[in-house]
Symmetry: C2
Subunit: 484 residues, 2 copies
């Protein structure tokens, strides 16, 4: 028996929806493509934010806030950039509603329509062009936590929604080298966060040239493998060269008194990561959360009988009090059965669920379920549980990582020919490692297979081989997969 009605091996996509529903993370709203992030889902996002924000600040970035709207004529100034986003932008054309008959209709037409930001390079670039006069003003390293809108026709909670929440870092530098280093450094931050904090399975690398961020010179990506073998582009960092500096006129006087355009970067991670977390660690019993982003590490479910309820409750309180300084604990005092409560927290992915009744109170023990270890039960002495809780939490994280790694490692294969790859994707889903010479020829054949080059991985074998699309000799490894 499992806590969900759909198993991930049977219907991954329905299972994904059910995990979200049963863990009460998010839901669709009355607005096409826009989701409501419910409190439990949002508290995971708040933990992600705090960890990333602390790291950004440690590295010298400051937060700021820039306008939601971008005048369309400003957007047009970077041709490649606008081309990349024009098909999916919410456009504000009026600034009030007026009654016509008994209906309210848009009125007060704007001279220049406003795009709701799909990303903020242009509007932040314009600000930087005001802030930067001399090389002394550089580097500028600013981050923004914000909502962005990219109009989507087919949406999916967390993975693809018309509005989503993210952070976007934007930096400007005096030299190319410094800007490239910054984009690489932030790529490393995302690698650390996604692999070491979220315990996801990642292959970091560069995007092929035709798949970079619209307007970028280089896009670094963290491709994560989901349990169904598909790739999720989890966070990207872009080296933008002088493209946006030219489009928004970010100029500075260098040490020799010469006017130069700045070199810029941008980098972002979004609420999509919550979708990634789910597809990495959830199982047929629901969500599973790595400890650093888990709203609670321990939930205590009191199992009360009339004759002993006061003693048991105060035993629970004592347990919580002693755990409080070591981890995040909740006593679930809702009006429901202990069974229902336990399963509720299992579906919400709490690492340890303690059921505490008269027996535990009398024997001075803690009886608990280990979420990551296939709901294995254990009983420890009260003091021992408190003493060991941080070790238990570490083990929980290791178990999550190991399970996922074992699964994903079995879904990576090396392929030498195109036919071999076709064969593989007929019956499998996973990451195919192959040689690709970097030429545009034959990319349509990948589209036909519904797969794409996810990245040119950082780790390269450096052996020569044959490009699976063109037959050209090349040393370049790429990762090919289906993707979200």
């Amino acid at each position: 028996m499992s806590a969900l009605t759909v198993k991930r091996d049977e219907n991954f996509s329905e299972w994904y929806q059910e995990v979200i529903l049963k863990a009460d993370l998010a839901e669709n709203s009355d607005v096409r493509g826009c989701m409501v992030i419910k409190p439990y889902g949002y508290s995971i996002w708040e933990r992600m934010q705090r960890i990333l924000d602390d790291k950004f600040k440690e590295l010298g970035h400051l937060n700021a806030y820039f306008p939601l709207f971008i005048p369309v004529d400003l957007f047009e100034k970077e041709a490649e950039h606008v081309a990349g986003f024009a098909k999916e932008m919410a456009i504000v054309t009026h600034h009030k509603l007026e009654k016509v008959g008994d209906k309210l209709v848009p009125a007060g037409k704007l001279e220049v329509p406003l795009a709701v930001r799909p990303t903020s390079e242009m509007i932040i670039g314009k600000a930087y062009s005001r802030w930067i006069k001399s090389y002394r003003d550089l580097p500028i390293m600013v981050n923004q936590w914000a909502n962005v809108v990219r109009w989507e026709m087919r949406t999916r909670l967390f993975l693809r929604t018309s509005e989503f929440l993210w952070q976007e870092g934007h930096t400007a530098h005096a030299t190319e080298e410094e800007a490239i280093n910054e984009s690489k450094r932030m790529h490393e931050v995302y690698k650390w966060f996604i692999k070491d904090v979220l315990k996801m399975y990642t292959i970091p690398g560069k995007k092929p040239d035709y798949d970079r961020f619209a307007g970028a010179i280089e896009t670094y990506t963290v491709e994560a493998m989901m349990q169904d073998g598909k790739a999720l582009q989890s966070a990207t960092s872009h080296y933008l060269g002088q493209n946006f500096a030219k489009a928004t006129n970010i100029q500075f006087q260098d040490k020799d008194g010469k006017q130069q355009y700045a070199y810029t970067t941008s980098w972002g991670a979004s609420t999509r990561l919550i979708g990634g977390l789910i597809m990495s660690h959830a199982d047929d019993d629901g969500l599973n959360l790595p400890s650093e982003v888990a709203p609670y590490h321990v939930v205590i479910v009191p199992v009360l009988r009339v004759q002993s309820s006061a003693e048991v409750l105060s035993y629970c309180e004592k347990l919580k009090t002693l755990l409080d300084s070591k981890c995040r604990v909740l006593i679930d005092v809702k009006n429901d059965t202990p069974q229902n409560k336990k399963w509720n927290w299992i579906r919400k992915g709490v690492p340890f669920i303690c059921e505490i009744g008269q027996r535990e109170q009398e024997n001075n023990t803690v009886f608990f379920t280990k979420r990551a270890n296939s709901l294995e039960k254990e009983t420890l002495l009260f003091d021992e549980f408190i003493y060991k809780i941080n070790e238990l939490i570490s083990i929980h994280d290791e178990v999550l990582a190991t399970k996922l790694n074992d699964k994903c490692n079995s879904m990576i294969i090396n392929v030498e020919t195109f036919d071999e790859m076709v064969e593989y994707f007929k019956n499998n889903s996973g990451f195919v490692k192959a040689k690709w010479a970097g030429l545009p020829d034959g990319l349509a054949k990948l589209e036909d297979l519904s797969v794409s080059i996810r990245c040119i991985p950082q780790e390269q074998c450096r052996s020569l081989g044959m490009c699976i699309l063109t037959g050209t000799e090349t040393a370049q490894d790429v990762i090919i997969a289906k993707s979200y």
Copy 2:
């Protein structure tokens, strides 16, 4: 001499702009009415957020996130509400841009236009109508940190911008009494925050009936007096009765199995508070910050000579290290003169600016400027400064509060007749306390004076008197003032 070119007594409005410019808090953007909140200004907002957010959570509220857009036909369902906002809403009508000739024009017209949220009662109400089935699901207490848009024709940084940042709490309850208590409780939270944390001068009370939030039964407000005697509505809490529950169909089954509409509240505070802080505490030398929201409490400016710079710098480092556990400290190592640095931090309102040179290092002393005490200087022994820093910070806060209170107390007068009030506002600006019977008659006379009833203050004299507008006998005191 002062650090700004405009004095607050000469031109308050220009002075306000200059404080913001010189403290590098915010600026206008390329988008009409939308501001850029620069890093130093944003870090003040981050501190406000953290303090309020901790308090909301302590009281049992959870954060969540709801869509930016509200379908216009949903907005129409609360007639009073939509009437209140229809004239100032950004309306999205299209979902892409298409090339026509060499111009990009809006395309993909939406069937139902979307309003960019000016506030979220309707969209959150719709969510609650899905979440709430039974009295067991109540109360629901959720808060959202978000951007909202209210189209403004005449804008002013922080005080009135088309887009601003805020928090909006939305709660639903089973009984009227509980909901009223919640709206009052959150009013108390705002009173505490604005008076005790931000050290502003406040008069809390209720709004007169014609000036409530569109759709509310009662609006509680914290009216703060600025140094120029004008009022700033600083944070409001609304009891909404069943109005929004009916408009969005928030029904629940009560204990007797009967269907009932829930009682709701909403309450919000915004980046406007930064404007309030400035107009409360800044002076002719620039910003002045109460300690809890000051990005730094102490800035150390090293005064370096070639022969002693290593010793002085390490002395500064030692000072910072020992202060770090007690307060927020920065060593300013920018490439500029000590004089420029000092004045820069004075304009940014840092409570204590230490100038540390060879003399201080040799004598083991700290020479510092006290921002709140008219830039008074003091020298303390190194250990003494560290030992006393938290006391110094408390005194700083008291000085800010006392200065403001003295100023504002002198701008409150009691008035018994309308003519007396006319006379007062001829040459003065301030808070007039008068009797008002609550009738609509004569309100236009207030408009002619460019003043309005700011609130019915919580503290009432309970003496009978004559309504200054109608002559009717009444016990009700009101506060009348010019306002932002």
